[in-house]
Amino acid sequence: MATLKEVQSKITSVKKTKQITKAMNMVATSRLRGAQTTMEAFRPYAEKFSEVLGNIADKAGDDASPLLTPRDEVNRINIVLMTSDRGLCGGFNVNLIDAAEKLMDDKSAQGFDVSFTNFGKKGRDWCRNNKFQITRQYLNVVGGKFSFNVASTSGQELIDGFLDGSFDEVYVIFANFQGMASQPPVVKQLLPIPVIETAGAEADDDKPYMAEHIIEPSPDELLNEMLPKNVFIQIYNALLETSTSEHAARMKAMDNATKACNDMIQNLTLAYNKARQAAITMELMDIIGGAEALKG
């Protein structure tokens, strides 16, 4: 049986932990709101962009851009792994890293050379511990405030690497924010760019007839300008999704932790009361025993 004092100090310590987890939960909640707003602000741009891209994609030739052409022989693969910088967010990073491991095993089995581009410390550390090749790392991006610039700088590097033959395929792994409860990891091919859905593919029966666009400069040239931007948009979008998911995951994890603290406090208080009662009973017994003895 634990002594009164031991239980008491345990309770104080759990209470302190609860304060911390509660505060972290609140911080995550407010950050989540911010991240969601940014995500919503980005949506119109992404939607309009793919609309315009779809409009020209079917007018340009199939081999308009080297970014669209799959390599005949694939040897080197780069995986862009997005994780958070900090822990205490439940299984969030583990899920992402699992997905990366699966993809990597899959590709290695086919005899490809795999390297990593890391967003986030957790994924970076995992790569480092396993001695995987890291081509580039970006820390303090996911989960914080970042601008479109990060996406375009990193995207440009990936495109350069693809064009000069450092990689033959590029994949991105990120967390898809589907709501508070689920942020499953998603693997997406970034380069070569998968077939673009053309505007003509959808049945546009409800839209009035519209004349063909005049395109300046030529569709091929315009497409060549837009495709790299499309890659940046994908990366930016993946970063936004991952950040939002991170905050959601942390919120959930901290909520659970706070609940667990409450349970523990309750149990410990019970144990404390029991111990106190036991002590009082013991004392009473002593007194009564003493009184009985005096009576003789």
Binding site: T38, A41, F42, P44, Y45, A46, K48, F49, E51, V52, N55, I56, S147, F148, S152, M210, A211, E212, H213, I214, I215, E216, P217, L222, E225, M226, K229, I233, Y236
Partner: protein
Amino acid sequence: MAELLKLEVVTPEKYVVSEDVEIVMAPGTLGEFGVLSGHTPFLTSLKPGRINYKDAAGKEKMLFVSGGFTEALPDRVTILAESAERRRDIDIDRARAALERAQKRLAQEKVENVNFERAKAAMYRAIERIKIAETRG
């Protein structure tokens, strides 16, 4: 009064402009162009530069775009820019500093270098920003 068309300027971070306008002038890669209501569908890329437009009340407004794309349709113009700033939002000190930095770079780099191209682009952007900020409106 002329018929109006809808102007939308969108960047990855936010909607910069969404209003009804009379006319839009934008810097296309093959030259500046103007759009009035009833324009034939038109798609082009943009250079860094200024966009002028006249709103429904006939007031002239101006903003800076750092390049991007435009889709013009008979009833609306959509401008997709990586960044766009209204005249009052331009940070002129920052633009001046960027200009100075770019010029220094240009003096050092070789012409065929990638950095040279980047510095040149940065210089154009800075010059355009300063020009717009200094225009009295």
